[in-house]
Symmetry: none
Subunit: 413 residues, 2 copies
């Protein structure tokens, strides 16, 4: 069965905002067995919205609309849909209550313009917005289901996960589709592809493999189609078992897991703690660790030592060592890790020192050169990497590579 | 005048690839005075391509197609366009030469499948591909101009910049369009809208305003249409001057500027330095500051004090103060800022202490409660905020709010 997405928003058509909503929604719709036939991006204009709804209604059974539900004058999706489905706007006390609660939680009075958001069409099923003020809407007409969702990504995602996807699975008889994503790190896409080509070629015809690369990582998504979800799950698990034997060192997790989450689980279960001492990553490793709920149980803190003076004064690395080997060196990064582990009094420490760029490179240590170290109760390990030319990608790659070094040490001990 | 973009590719419809090409192209087309009316994303299917071309041809005078020009069987754009415009494929020696040169530069022999790419329709203007094997094509029919470009971003961009945009500017008499984005922080969309409604309503009819909210910030985009770019620029600048008088405290920058960039420029020009002492933001403020190239000139480092012990040992805050007022308090956050400023030896320091959630909240200090402080050579300021329930949004909001507090102090001094 097929669906279409209509993305509404001038900001998408002038190139100010990239349409990440549509790709996220496509991926989620796919996961429940719905193919996306077309994505149409249009402006906040009434006639254009109506024309797009007419076209999509002639092609598919499910239409998802995002955007144009804000409280301001340029947001006209709700009034247009009310007219299109021949309803009238009525005041919803339930929606007002939701808006009031949201503002009360922030200790902010409800504005008149936000109160207007409590008007909804009388012929739709209202979708509660648990994280924002604009309610979503579901309409049904001529056997076609329509959803109107906010354009704000986290509001849209909340409604997709908790209303739209369950509702579609319930209403439609969709084929069984099972996805599982295998998370790999430390090997590039083409090398990985060579290493697993034999395995890839023997996959049964109802299984599809997709490579999803991102900086420093490649996710492998297996999709299996069939009639029985339990059988498909077993089939995928069997394939993953044989893949694990091929690339045991590169797989770190599955599906939506993150490195920080995996590390956090191990540290928590073993009652161990971690700290960081960061130069080129500038606090980003600490940020990734603390993005995880409950990280205060195992993360104690960090010393971000961008200047050499902080390396000497706070991390107690002698000026001699820095002068002799340079701040970007095995010696300095290992001392950053071992000293911070003692100073901040933790079981493990991660340290980074490198040239993120665009300035600061040399022939010997070009931009992208990064030393990473992990200190443990049993010693210290370190490794030199050469990433690329892009500053923010270098920071990101260094941080996840460092977290992966810690993960491996935790697995080994 | 209006254009449409048709993006062809299965990978876009399963959510594997985000359609960054379309937003980039929209931005470029806008810059020469062409509005993008619609972006249509479709699969590599012949009939769907033809239907989309027919629809777009009924609406606009310029149609840009990307994707489906690769050498493999699933790429059918070229054969479809040849048929659509009633031409035949002929062998182009010029294109073959280009392909041969490209492979020679990489010391790789030309494959048979790549040689096939030298066939092009006899009724198009060939667009040379200087960085890849697939040539682009330009067709004209019934006063509509069509371009077919590769989906590989850097090949598409090269052709856009060096052929498509100059060609369009030459062929069409385009109006001038000027955009300017005003960056605001510290005021929600609905409050902002109420505050500036008078100004918004007096905007001339050739000016459009759009609200673009993101966590903690709202960007306002003014677009002006006309015949003379210089006049439009003056018109926009005049409107911005009167907006500035209405909301002087909330505007922090324009267009693509970031808070870190603005702060960095001020610190660099005044030869001042900054450090951070972070609890609930866990290093994220330091990360935002160090995302900026050249930040090592003014950022010295950070102490991330997640545990109270690090607050006492490294930040020298007495255990008494923490016990009396709690770690999330005016007293503690101000000491974090003033002490770190001295310990890390900088001109300015930013500090954070709060309950990011989901755990750790209380009646008195619910999840989302965050104290922020900025220490300067002239003293310390602090403020209590109540953000929301989402951990990562709280971290993000706290970090940008803290950066904005520093920006204001820098502007004041």
């Amino acid at each position: 069965m097929q669906a279409e997405i209509i993305s509404i928003g001038d900001e998408l058509l002038i190139g100010q905002v990239v349409n990440t909503n549509a790709s996220w929604m496509s991926e989620r719709l796919n996961s429940i067995g719905l193919d996306v036939f077309q994505i149409t991006t249009i402006a906040d204009k009434k006639q254009h919205i109506i024309d797009s709804l007419n076209s999509a209604s002639g092609r598919v059974k499910v239409v998802l609309i995002t955007g144009g539900l804000g409280p301001t004058n340029d947001d006209i999706t709700k009034s247009t849909l009310t007219q299109y489905f021949e309803g009238i706007l009525v005041f919803s006390n339930r929606t007002l209550k939701n808006i009031e609660n949201l503002f009360a939680a922030r200790s902010v009075p409800v504005t008149e313009i936000n109160k207007q958001q409590a008007y909804i069409p009388d012929n739709c099923v209202e979708i509660e917005n648990k994280v924002g003020t604009a309610p979503g809407m579901m309409f049904e007409k001529n056997d076609i289901i329509y959803f109107s969702l906010p354009g704000v990504p986290f509001e849209m995602k909340e409604m997709m996960n908790n209303f739209v996807l369950p509702e579609l699975s319930k209403k439609l008889s969709l084929p069984a589709i099972i996805h599982k994503t295998i998370l790999t790190i430390g090997i590039g896409e083409s090398f990985l592809s060579e290493k697993i080509s034999g395995w890839e070629n023997q996959l049964p015809s109802n299984c599809k493999l997709a490579y999803l690369p991102s900086p420093g990582q490649v996710r492998l998504r297996i999709t299996a189609f069939g009639s029985n979800a339990v059988e498909l799950n077993n089939q995928i698990e069997k394939q993953i078992q044989s893949l694990k034997k091929l690339i045991p060192d590169y797989i770190y997790g599955f599906n939506e897991e993150t490195l920080s989450e995996i590390i956090g689980k191990i540290l928590k279960s073993e009652n161990k703690t971690v700290v960081t001492a960061e130069s080129c990553t500038g606090g980003f490793i600490a940020h990734l660790i603390t993005s995880e709920p409950g990280s205060s149980n195992y993360f104690k803190g960090s010393i971000v030592a961008y200047s050499n003076k902080i390396k000497t004064e706070l991390l107690k690395i002698s000026d001699d060592v820095i002068q002799t080997h340079g701040a970007v060196s095995k010696e300095v990064v290992e001392l950053m890790a071992t000293n911070s582990r003692l100073i901040l009094n933790a079981d493990y420490s991660i340290a980074s020192s490198g040239v993120a760029g665009p300035d600061g490179g040399s022939v010997e240590k070009p931009v992208g050169t990064v030393w990473l170290a992990v200190a443990t109760p049993f010693g210290v390990i370190s490794e030199r990497f050469l990433f690329g030319n892009d500053r923010n990608r270098n920071i990101l790659k260094a941080a996840i590579t460092a977290l992966n070094m810690l993960r491996k040490e935790l697995a080994r001990n």
